[in-house]
């Protein structure tokens, strides 16, 4: 029997504004699926953002934005925590103890502040610059691998334990780009020998039904990534002026490097 607050939360429709290639959008789609929450989806053209999107997220003007009745929620990690808070009876994304929650949040920050930008840098560069970026990615992955091996997540199948949680969603929706970028740039990022636990985790994550329903087909991602890389490298050689005037390119780069 549902509690009153759940009935009222459920009675108010959910609408997600997103972009098909945005891993930040995928995080929210996956979380909604894991929690069994129905939602309407609106695909945004990032080169030509809708009035609705700009109204709902005037500060950042980005996807994803989750609209719940008259509430507009931007920023994927904020949205994910909102889902846990507003639907406490549904499958929780965050762990129970304050300490475990702190760890999950810490590593979510790491994913977005360190690993994501490092992978984006590999994708947007060549030569020596790229080599330095690759080293950075490996250093970051090594830290995560260490936590899986001997640290906070030792012995777990997923970061959330037996089932996926917040950190799996955040890290996972983004990590699928690693294989795509490897293919497009020809650079090895996740060596199964160097990062066996991370590699195994990613494989198990990507095998989940809800994840397969959320992440676009690899060939679409590859085609998309090839296009963006071509553009990014073209921009890099043309110089800063070209980058400033290429709005659609900037919008696309927004998604591509925001993994």
């Amino acid at each position: 029997m549902e509690k009153m607050e759940n009935v009222s939360a459920a009675a108010v429709p959910l609408k997600l504004f997103g972009s098909w290639a945005s891993s930040y959008t995928h995080r929210v789609q996956l979380a909604l699926r894991l929690k069994g929450l129905e939602f309407e989806y609106a695909e945004e053209d990032l080169g030509n953002k809708s009035d609705a999107l700009l109204r709902h997220n005037p500060v950042y003007k980005k996807v994803p934005v989750l609209v719940h009745g008259d509430r507009a929620l931007p920023e994927s990690v904020i949205i994910l925590q909102y889902l846990d808070d507003a639907w406490p009876e549904s499958r929780p994304l965050l762990p129970a103890s304050a300490l475990d929650r702190a760890l999950a949040r810490f590593w979510c920050h790491f994913a977005d502040d360190k690993l994501g930008p490092a992978v984006g840098a590999v994708f947007a560069s060549t030569g020596e610059e790229q080599e330095a970026a690759v080293r950075q990615v490996h250093e970051n992955l090594a830290l995560i691998e260490a936590e899986l091996r001997d640290g906070a997540f030792k012995g777990r199948r997923f970061f959330g334990g037996d089932e996926v949680g917040l950190l799996d969603v955040v890290l996972g929706c983004g990590s699928y780009w690693l294989a795509v970028f490897e293919e497009v740039t020809g650079v090895r990022l996740v060596d199964a020998d160097a990062f066996p636990l991370f590699h195994a985790w990613l494989r198990d994550f990507e095998a989940l039904d809800e994840v397969r329903d959320t992440i676009p087909a690899v060939d679409r991602l590859l085609e998309y990534a090839r296009g963006v890389r071509h553009m990014l490298l073209g921009l890099a050689s043309a110089g800063a002026d070209a980058a400033a005037s290429a709005t659609p390119a900037a919008a696309a780069a927004d998604i591509a490097v925001d993994i």
Binding site: I78, L99, R101, F110
Partner: protein, 227 residues
């Protein structure tokens, strides 16, 4: 000291001039939590700090029951949850208000700090552009505050703690640059908030020694922290 006392001990590793460390100190005061404070020398970090925060090697680090927690925002949420029934709440209960609280805390570091720091550390056109960008974002904040005593309402909360360093750093920047940024005319709510914040019982007497702060701002190596 018995085993239980040792286990429950709270330790904070920090430097007294860091706004990130101060946030944590203020949060612990809101909850009335007793803790041991360890002042670090960033030029010569202790083995314990490096052991507790191997990923970033930074302060603040809170150690609770032997387990380290790093990153000031993460620590603040942890303090609110671990001492839920002590003192005042740091985050609100309502899910949407919690989300907006987290949003405005990030706004500070994402949208405000970069142009403010740029304004303080550059010259010429770059400085002018940074100033304009900072004003634009401050106006957004002014609108959000809209006459409230604190961002959280009647008492200091998460957003106030996150933005609090603005209250004492901006006047220093204004003095050093000779240019006003937060005028009472344009920012009546923010101006009042800065005063409310600094004089609140939680913060009062727990601000960095301001002359030391000014000295630090001139030291190239150490000056690399934004608001």
């Amino acid at each position: 000291m018995n085993h239980q006392d040792e286990k429950d001990k709270v330790k904070l590793f920090g430097i007294r001039s860091s706004p990130y460390v101060l946030k944590v100190i203020w949060a612990l005061r809101i909850k009335g939590v007793k803790y041991d404070y360890i002042e670090e020398d960033l030029g010569n970090k202790s083995d314990l700090l490096l052991e507790y925060n191997p990923v970033h090697k930074k302060v603040p680090v809170l150690v609770y029951q032997g387990k380290p927690i790093a990153e000031s925002e993460v620590i603040l949420e942890f303090i609110d949850e671990a001492w839920k029934h002590c003192g005042d709440p740091i985050l609100p209960e309502d899910p949407y208000e919690r989300a907006m609280t987290r949003f405005w805390a990030r706004f500070g570091s994402d949208k405000l700090s970069p142009p403010i720091w740029k304004w303080f550390t550059t010259q010429g056109q770059e400085q002018e552009d940074a100033y304009a960008a900072a004003i634009e974002q401050l106006l957004v904040l002014e609108k959000e505050l809209c006459g409230k005593r604190f961002f959280a309402g009647e008492k200091i909360g998460f957003v106030d703690l996150s933005l609090g360093s603005l209250a004492y750093v901006i006047p220093i920047y204004e003095e050093i640059t000779g240019v006003k940024m937060i005028t009472e005319e344009t920012f009546p709510s923010l101006t009042a908030w800065m005063g409310n914040f600094q004089s609140s019982p939680v913060v009062k007497d727990h601000l960095p020694p301001l002359d030391k702060l000014q000295l630090r701002l001139f030291t190239p190596a150490e000056a690399a922290w934004p608001v």
